[in-house]
Symmetry: C2
Subunit: 322 residues, 2 copies
């Protein structure tokens, strides 16, 4: 698992979450076991557990209370990734073939269901009833975000509002929940819970926009998935929407964007056109605004080292290249 230096506060605790996760998804079923472990091994940044633990440090840091929450959130995240892979027909995630590529849709669906069911086992044992309610509401919203994404695929008339609707549900709500729940189970007062939730929300929005920018600009090897995946799947992201606004030949760009089976050349051409409009810089400017918003929310929190870690995390999300 890639360790980010700014997680030094919680490195060993994150490793503990990792270890518990691996043990927890163990099953007698080789198919499930292999695909679940496969997902875990693909690593990811484990951002969500990190947010959860960091948010728990402001009041009364209790690792034993935070670990099940962090695990549950990561399982929900992994479950949604696996189900998205059925939806998106993407073949690799972080450079490794997805569960779907290896074993078909059925196993993807069942693996996702299994991971979610495991998260429910954890959630059902958490002593704060609010946790289950918050996660249930978010799950519904996440579904609605996914459905909107399906509905809007290859729709070149989308506007920014629709994009924000989607990324809020796809990414920001869960990251916000990580922060809120970490604070709640640590007994933090309402005001802190709210501030951390708002921080997580703004940062989640920034994170997804950067992700969408990188999908068009990253070097494939660093990114862990083929560049231009969103273009191929017809997912209209912020840079594309902004590019259409400022393009000198929007009709041509629309034609490319709405084309369902793009060739590699067409993908590259589209990326080039988007870059030429300055849409990338515009998108990154919006990232900056969200990161600023996130940092402002941190000002409602006590001045402890963890607050600095969260500020650095916000900064990292802004400048990351993967």
């Amino acid at each position: 698992m890639k360790q980010l230096w700014l997680f030094s506060q919680i490195n060993s605790d994150l490793q503990r979450v990792e270890k518990e996760l691996t043990k927890f998804v163990e099953t007698d079923y080789p198919i499930l076991q292999d695909s679940a472990v496969h997902l875990l091994a693909a690593g990811g940044k484990r951002l969500r557990p990190a947010f959860t633990l960091l948010a728990g440090k402001f009041y009364g840091y209790s690792l034993e209370k935070l670990i099940p929450v962090a695990m549950a959130l990561e399982l929900i995240h992994m479950s949604s990734l696996v189900h998205d892979d059925v939806v998106d027909a993407s073949m690799t995630r972080r450079g490794r073939p997805t569960v779907k590529a290896n074993w078909g849709n059925i196993v993807s669906v069942q693996t996702g269901d299994y991971l979610l069911a495991k998260s429910l086992m954890l959630i059902s044992k958490i002593d704060h009833p609010e946790v289950a309610r918050i996660l249930a509401e978010i799950s519904v919203e996440m579904c609605q975000g996914e459905i909107q994404q399906i509905k809007c695929s290859f729709d070149v008339e989308q506007n920014i509002k629709q994009y924000y609707y989607r990324i809020k549900r796809k990414t920001a709500l869960l990251i916000s929940a990580c922060c809120r729940l970490g604070a709640i189970v640590s007994g933090a007062p309402r005001r802190q819970v709210w501030a951390l939730g708002a921080y997580g929300h703004s940062l989640g929005m920034a994170f997804q926009i950067v992700d969408d920018v990188l999908d068009l600009t990253a070097k494939a090897a660093e990114f862990g998935k083929p560049v231009g995946g969103d273009l191929r799947q017809g997912i209209m992201t912020l840079p594309m929407i902004l590019a259409l606004k400022s393009s000198t030949n929007p009709a041509h760009l629309k034609t490319l964007l709405r084309k369902v089976d793009k060739t590699d050349e067409e993908v590259l051409e589209t990326i080039g056109l988007i870059n030429n409009t300055g849409a990338i810089d515009e998108a990154m400017h919006l990232v900056d605004l969200y990161v600023l918003k996130a940092k402002r929310h941190l000002q409602d929190l006590p001045q402890v080292p963890t607050r600095k870690a969260l500020e650095e995390l916000a900064e990292f999300i802004r400048v990351r290249k993967f």
Copy 2:
């Protein structure tokens, strides 16, 4: 919705559950709305809500407490049906799956996720923490049952133990949960909760065996789905396993059973061969044993009209033709 006369005790309450369900799955998303409503309209027998309500009548019948439980259980059931419908997308066009080719699966996955998320909203608000824990455990088991089914598809060497493992998870556990949870939220004492759960478990096993028998013997029009579906999908059911044991030409039967793309003639031939072995009668005898077991558990319950209704329900499951 088909009304069974033996539900006369709870007819109007079942209608209330139906009404609440329809309202509850409403969403602004036509895709989700259409498929969710489609599922509801397909009706089904609403057995699970019926079990829940009936089980709630032994101690302190509180409809307001029972309705969310009944709804949640039916939503979990519908979610699992939808996910079971996801089939492996065949690869098209230069070995890459197209987005459009996945459409049916995409909507199935998201609809199932949505229904499950909605059930979680209900579950998270129920005042008995035990409810969430029981449902979480069952969800994990149900996943393992589904995965076993995938793993064992077209495997003609399966034994009865593997079959029972599967139908316990696929059907019996959830029906058992309906009875247990109906009793729990009605404040029933432990002994009654246990007895009702055991009744539900045995009846669930009987129910699934009958379902599997009907898949080979029913008239399609009554059954509501094409006959021989299990044969086509390679789901090895009890009659098939028993038929192999008593067949005079098991090798030929195995060849047919393991054939992946059976013609209609082959399906009919296989059904004929199975019928010739007496496996159907044998399976129905095992149904009788389970129904007897279920009725015996009812003897731990007070002699109230509802107990008679549950006995009649057990009998109905034994003799039903659809």
